[in-house]
């Protein structure tokens, strides 16, 4: 076989037709990719409105029409030639791409695998051009009366590529992909009016000239914005704007992470990394909801990594990473070091990284992205999640509800420090549900608190703080308790025994794999010794996998200990519950437990009203 291939006369230059089909394999993966390419072309053509219609999940028809610049007859014919583009002129341009497309592959690729029609007219021309292509072969090019702009119709996609057609999924699946593409484009270009019609039914009609915030509302609905905080920060050349969900608003997998680099939906390893670092540790499978726009000079980013341009590369990876971490940290009031080390005092103020020289420390919105803030420049009016932004107003505390307190709850004002990031301005404990969850009433909604996760968070921060101050008080036990660990656990604990002891656990080796516990940090309360040591040893195993602060050992020990200690009785008295809620509000990161599970779930009254159909 190999020999036969090496014989002369077997290597031939592929015809343009075949080359296009191959390129189509890369660019046109499925109907949704056609939608993406055509919409991007429309936007690059300066369209103010783009209307998309699909039938049968895009297999029968994909039609995209815009009111953009249109093309003359020659340009129109040129556009279906491979590597023909209006977007690049010379090789230098590829270093500073500011259009969405540039490769000159999209139209010829699509045209080579479909029955393709292009109708276009420049506004200044009297008549337009209509071109028909069948499986990559030009059938007809004629003058036609068409509205200004460009309309592309793609019928019977992959009709000549049976292999690819076989791999298409059910109509619904393809349609879901199209919707996802549409959503991304709609978010990336809020100023462009977009509509999507599927099988004659209009799914979206998004108005032209919207702000990002309006666009988010139109695409996801009112409720999506609850729990999101506006992000707006510039560091040097890099602007990060958009919205970031609070750490208790998480989803499985990355379904609701929308990241745009220079308005192009994009991923990059560094973005995923920065998002992980910007948030407190979340439960393994959970991902925060983010809608981020990263804008930077075109020569700082290489979009020519992937034919579908899904992945980008940054020239200054570290700067991008730091910009994202700082921007999100500022939005959600969290910074890794600040949250975990015991530096008392400022949190939000300190949380932003030092701004680059010449840039004001808090540049709220960046011109590259349309108004992040609401009409009056007030962000919190639109984002009703009670939180830090609201605090300045709290100088005049909101009066307690006028109605008399219900018999189950006492008034409870939780606003001790104006600087603090308390998740609510005031709240009132309504009671305990299922003998477990605490229900709180706040300004904008009700909050369900998991007392166990809350206790873990509270204990964790206290323990870390006490350790940082070197002031751990260890309560001695009446009878030292001996615990025998599994050999592997025992070895790990032995290696880190010094740290454990420093944190107020009087644990000593007691021969073999036995350990003897003589005293425990007083603030942990009653904690089962065996579970405690097992947790610590077990968690030390996975340590180091995650690059962290220099106190990572202490963090692990504290997390493991608090996990064991928080397991105690869940039924709380009124007084205990109020203490816990107050203590939680005072923590640096009240929204998650140290392991990343949410401590509270917020439900806005607006959502309730919607559900009750009011």
């Amino acid at each position: 076989m190999l020999l036969r291939m090496l014989r002369d006369g077997h290597i031939r230059l592929l015809s343009a037709h075949v080359a296009n089909k191959i390129a189509a394999g890369e660019v046109v993966e499925r109907p949704a990719s056609v939608v993406k390419e055509l919409v991007e072309n429309a936007i690059d053509a300066g369209a103010g409105r783009v209307d998309i219609a699909v039938t049968a999940g895009g297999r029968k028809l994909i039609a995209v029409s815009d009111d953009g610049n249109g093309m003359g007859r020659d340009d129109a014919l040129m556009s279906i030639e491979r590597q023909a583009t209006s977007k690049l002129r010379d090789v230098d341009d590829i270093e500073r791409i500011d259009t969405l497309g540039f490769r000159g592959e999209a139209l010829p690729s699509i045209a080579s695998v479909s029955r393709f029609t292009l109708k276009t007219r420049r506004p200044q021309d009297e008549s337009g051009t209509e071109i028909a292509v069948l499986g990559g072969r030009l059938q007809e090019a004629r003058e036609a009366g068409v509205p200004p702009g460009t309309t592309v119709e793609v019928r019977d996609l992959f009709f000549n590529v049976p292999a690819r057609r076989k791999f298409l999924r059910a109509y619904q699946t393809e349609q879901a992909h199209i919707r996802a593409v549409f959503t991304l484009q709609a978010l990336a270009h809020p100023e462009v009016g977009l509509s999507l019609t599927a099988d004659g039914r209009e799914l979206y009609r998004l108005p032209q000239g919207a702000s990002l915030e309006e666009r988010v509302r139109d695409v996801f609905g009112e409720e999506f914005r609850v729990g999101l905080r506006p992000v707006g920060k510039r560091r040097g050349d890099i602007a990060v704007t958009g919205f970031a969900g609070l750490p208790n608003v998480t989803r499985n997998a990355r379904g609701e992470q929308y990241v745009f680099v220079n308005r192009r939906p994009a991923t990059a390893p560094v973005i995923a990394y920065a998002l992980r670092e910007a948030y407190p540790p979340l439960d393994r499978e959970r991902r925060p909801v983010v809608l981020l726009f990263i804008d930077l000079p075109p020569d700082q980013v290489d979009v020519n990594v992937h034919p579908a341009k899904r992945e980008v590369r940054f020239r200054q990876v570290a700067e991008v990473r730091e910009a994202i971490i700082a921007a999100i940290g500022e939005a959600i009031g969290y910074r890794r070091e600040a949250a975990d080390s015991a530096t008392t005092g400022g949190r939000l103020g300190d949380a932003s990284l030092p701004a680059a020289a010449g840039t004001p420390p808090h540049t709220p919105a960046v011109p590259a992205v349309p108004a992040v803030t609401g009409p009056g420049g007030s962000t919190h009016a639109v984002f009703p999640y009670p939180g830090a932004e609201n605090l300045p107003e709290a100088a005049t505390p909101v009066p307690a509800p006028i109605s008399p307190d219900p018999p189950t709850g006492r008034g409870l004002s939780l606003l001790p420090v104006p600087e603090s990031g308390a998740p609510w301005r005031w709240c009132r404990l309504l009671g305990q549900a299922a003998g477990r969850y605490l229900l709180l009433e706040t300004d904008d909604g009700y909050v369900t608190v998991d007392p166990r996760a809350a206790r873990e968070r509270v204990l964790y921060e206290r323990l870390m703080e006490a350790d940082a101050q070197g002031a751990t008080a260890a309560q001695r036990l009446l009878l030292p308790e001996t615990v025998r660990l599994a050999p592997a656990d025992a070895a790990r604990l032995r290696n880190h025994l010094k740290i454990v002891q420093k944190m107020g656990f009087a644990v000593e080796e007691f021969g073999g794999d036995h350990f003897i516990v003589e005293a425990l940090p007083d603030l942990l309360g009653q904690v089962p010794c065996r579970a405690l040591l097992e947790n610590i040893a077990h968690d030390l195993e996975s340590a180091g996998a995650r690059r962290g602060s220099e106190r990572w050992r202490e963090e692990i020990v504290a997390k493991a200990a608090c996990r064991a200690a928080a397991g105690a009785a869940e039924k709380l008295t009124q007084e205990q519950a109020e203490q816990l809620v107050s203590a939680l509000a005072l923590t640096r990161m009240p929204y998650t437990c140290p392991r990343g599970r949410p401590t509270m779930i917020f439900t806005s009254y607006r959502e309730l009203e919607r559900k009750f159909g009011r």
């Binding site: 703080e465 008080a473 009446l478």
Partner: protein, 364 residues
């Protein structure tokens, strides 16, 4: 079943037992009280399967029988009725008609067949003690019971009938409270029982201040009979740790201090303790005790209490809650604190046979 009963005593009986019946839960029958009229008495029983409670109320019976009714609803009705006698009649379908004054109620009950069996007050051995004394013993010990659910045996109060004494002990591994009372029982009746904390609180709620209390021991179960009430409770299975070994055999120093003066000083000073830093330092010197709490970022509190003491100066740090607990639950004017040094366990004693062992905090 048909009987008539004075409203007041019926309500009193229901109030005594309704605490045990569950509020919610999957078993409907546990929300009900078993009512059984026989031989001039109405017997009202509730149970949550761990604890059962029964009381007797005198009534005039026309027709003996039994039924079960939702106890909280029944108590709610009886509470609101006018003073006087209530006529109570149940048909074969467990539908009960209540009439009192101008009121008429019809309540649907459940069959007695489904009501769990409740133990009867009998046992191989029984022990006799005054109700008030027993309740005091519970009060002096039960606050030290452990909340740590992984150590089941510590989630109750130990009652040891041994050497002609009833010894009660509770501990959470950090402090231990112990109280003793001499009572009479045959040597072969020596036994240890661990009474769950839930039964302890129910007993403390219902026990009177005087009158005889009889305790019966059965397998995994203890039964308390007093006045017209009977409470039975499952026991915690297991062996209580050897508490004797944590009580220091001797102490070098002994301090005499006024109980209420010490308690109020601790209360005052602990205002500046927080959950973050819950430690209070006690410095004993000649006839003076200085109590000191210092919390970074919060402040400092200091108080001085006169004591009778002539020994060496000792500084020792405690969790103030642990120190206040026994002081709140004993009534003596003076208490004795026995110490060796700043890092050994301290003892608190009073005139009755009561011992409280408390481990100090160790500050890094």
């Amino acid at each position: 079943m048909k009987f008539s009963i004075p409203r007041a005593s019926f309500f009193e009986g229901l109030q005594k037992v309704q605490n045990v019946a569950s509020n919610k839960g999957s078993l409907m029958i546990l929300q009900n009280a078993l009512l059984h009229a026989e031989e001039g008495r109405l017997c009202i029983t509730t149970t949550d399967l761990d604890i059962s409670e029964r009381c007797y109320v005198e009534c005039e019976i026309d027709n003996p029988g039994s039924t079960t009714l939702p106890v909280r609803r029944l108590a709610g009705i009886i509470r609101e009725l006018d003073e006087g006698r209530i006529l109570f009649e149940t048909d074969d379908e467990d539908v009960t008609v209540l009439q009192g004054g101008s009121s008429f109620f019809k309540i649907i009950g459940l069959s007695t067949r489904d009501f769990p069996p409740v133990p009867i007050a009998e046992g191989k051995f029984s022990y006799s003690i005054d109700q008030g004394v027993f309740r005091e013993m519970l009060r002096k010990t039960c606050y030290a019971v452990s909340q740590d659910e992984t150590r089941r045996v510590l989630n109750g109060v130990l009652m040891a009938f041994k050497d002609g004494k009833l010894t009660m002990v509770a501990t959470d591994g950090r402090r231990l409270s112990l109280v003793e009372q001499e009572i009479e029982f045959p040597a072969e009746a020596e036994i240890e029982m661990i009474l769950p904390v839930k039964a302890v609180s129910e007993l403390m709620r219902v026990l009177g201040s005087e009158g005889d209390l009889k305790i019966y021991s059965q397998k995994n179960q203890a039964i308390f009979e007093f006045g017209d009430i009977m409470i039975s409770s499952k026991l915690i299975d297991g062996v209580y740790p050897n508490y004797r070994q944590v009580i220091p055999a001797s102490s070098e120093e002994r301090v005499v201090v006024g109980r209420s003066a010490l308690l109020s000083a601790l209360r005052r000073v602990s205002v500046v303790t927080t959950d973050k830093s819950n430690s209070t330092k006690l410095t004993f010197s000649a006839n003076q005790l200085v109590i000191n709490s210092n919390t970074p970022d919060v402040g400092e509190g200091r108080d001085t209490v006169p004591i009778k003491y002539a020994g060496k100066e000792i500084s020792i740090v405690f969790n103030p809650e642990y120190l206040m607990d026994p002081l709140k639950n004993i009534d003596d004017d003076e208490v004795f604190i026995e110490l060796n040094d700043g890092h050994s366990p301290a003892l608190i004693k009073c005139s009755v046979p009561f011992i409280y062992v408390l481990m100090p905090l160790r500050i890094n």
